[in-house]
Symmetry: C2
Amino acid sequence: MLIVKKFGGSSVADRDRIYNVAKRCIEDYKKGHDIIVVLSAMGKTTDQLIAQAQDINPLAPKRELDMLLTTGEQVSVSLMAMAMNALGVPAISLNAFQVQMHTTSTYGNARFKKIDYDRIRHELDNRRIVIVTGFQGVNKYDDYTTLGRGGSDTTAVALAAALHADTCEIYTDVEGVYTADPRIVPKARKMREISYDEMLELATLGAKVLHNRSVEMAKKYGVQLIVRSSLNRAPGTVVKEVVGVERMLVSGVAADKNTARISVIGLKDQPGIAFKLFDLLAKHKINVDMILQSVGRDGTKDISFTIPSGDVREVMDIIKDNQNRITAQKVECEENIAKVSVVGAGMMSNPGVAAKMFEALYNVGINIKMISTSEIRVSVIVDAKEADKAMQAIHDSFGLED
Amino acid sequence: MLIVKKFGGSSVADRDRIYNVAKRCIEDYKKGHDIIVVLSAMGKTTDQLIAQAQDINPLAPKRELDMLLTTGEQVSVSLMAMAMNALGVPAISLNAFQVQMHTTSTYGNARFKKIDYDRIRHELDNRRIVIVTGFQGVNKYDDYTTLGRGGSDTTAVALAAALHADTCEIYTDVEGVYTADPRIVPKARKMREISYDEMLELATLGAKVLHNRSVEMAKKYGVQLIVRSSLNRAPGTVVKEVVGVERMLVSGVAADKNTARISVIGLKDQPGIAFKLFDLLAKHKINVDMILQSVGRDGTKDISFTIPSGDVREVMDIIKDNQNRITAQKVECEENIAKVSVVGAGMMSNPGVAAKMFEALYNVGINIKMISTSEIRVSVIVDAKEADKAMQAIHDSFGLED
């Protein structure tokens, strides 16, 4: 078997943890499997490098920031190769130049285009464990790029796809994918398996266990993912195309506190206004999530939408700069909100899910500010300080602990 | 003009020093010159990375150690590019993969074979300051290599040679090349200029201002070097082929405390014994410096030689493992010694230099343990604790302060 194993920064934060990971990888290697290990930067390294860059130049060119950040994973992979060699197993570390992991040109948020596998294949054929830097790529200018937060998950899936790996194991500090965040909902239950689509909704909705881009890619190339703990031997959660038929209506609850609502008020009620607004945001690469349009006063209309919290200042500036063009009378922003969602393939054919969720929130006195639905998801916006209570109530209401 | 500027680790150790270097480079850039900057890793970074590797695996594969160490310069160059950009000047950082600095395959001690200059030329043509990682290269396997201690000097000279730079400035924490180490000999005088050959002897003998391999390369390709301070505007010392005729007999005094003496005692007095001994050391890539053979007891002979202190354990092991083969009765080692040398192109035609040096040492009661001479150098081995006094006495005796 060819197995890709991905470990995050906390799993390689110090000497002991590096050896812990090395030993786990060597177990499978000694069973005769081919092993590719993808690593993030150690512990808080990436945050420290970003702080160092900020100190030198708060508006540092993104190209140079990527040049700086990619050193973090290179340190992890070389130390891991040293640890495996100390344990008597041949291992070799490779960075994005050596593997030739080609990406788009966007620094800080690149996407994979093509991954060469000659070098990795050559090293595997020599029975070496191959340790690859996560999170990074090389663009057409021969410059380093990074994939954005959580990008190492994507690196692991991309390598698994390119090399037709039998499985891609994502190691984290939890035992798998839960019906809700167990730190908030103590009765949350670990799922044995989940479909790509449900995982995708959960990942996008704030379940931090997997990066959504990595799930998209796994679905596209049919890569079987296993989410499991780097600390114990629990079997984890399998993410794949089709899951068992004896399915729950709802598979999980998630909350995303990293969200803000922008309200653009008093827009002229004429065709093209919404287009102008969202086209403007798209050109600035702002990810808009939920959108709600309502009737305003005196023949105008209001549009509210949610965005990641980090984009608030930029979006407010963009809209203010274009206030006349989009005919807005006023723009407001609300930051202390959270998006709480239920996800489940079962809800497609069951119209009662949304109602049951709203009832659960009503019973504990939580006000709903916005609603959005998809085929396998219902999301609501509530006050940030009520998000945990909302998750708990919904989890109870759908009986997810069983 | 095309100017290559090299700054060591202490010159980029923190934010203020990075900005200090950035500003100095920008001054010349604004005069219309093309600027290439070569940097070492910040402060003690390389030592820290080595310690981290030692902690993981004291016998770490050299290939992985180089993979780890090369991150140090990548951090320096990206932060420098950010600083220059903050000062409004376009700058770009490049590592050994991006420049394509091809070296031999020996990890930890590689040598340049060929440097591509297309990328650098392209960036210079776009009026960017180009900031290149010192100390590192890429070998034919597409793996990182490092050049050994002081390798950033060599990177600077190699780039100056490849791009036909007008001058190569090596910035240090001293103002240039002195007749002796000014921390030990307070009256030491800065030289206005020095020949490659004299600089080479001084560099090899322990004057840490320039790495000897970089001087060899500068001589080979006729690259004009200027050694100057990163802290002030003093003019520095020019290193070039031919220097003025009004030359001193002796140009400088140097001491190397990083040396040890091995004595192999009671060897059979027959042909081939010395060959076997030094062939053995050469195969282990041990750099032997001075060699002295003397008559031993009972028809045997003794051979003493000096080596870098760091090689003592390995050399003792090699000799003990082969004691029968080289017919040695005993092997001893003396570590607390220093090599003190005088260097000067003028001494070639003046036989009194050695005698004058020995007289100076006799006058202050210092015992000489070994002697070695070349056309432009006389070296003696003395007790390590007397090295500073020896330098002082020799410096006075030759009147180098004038």
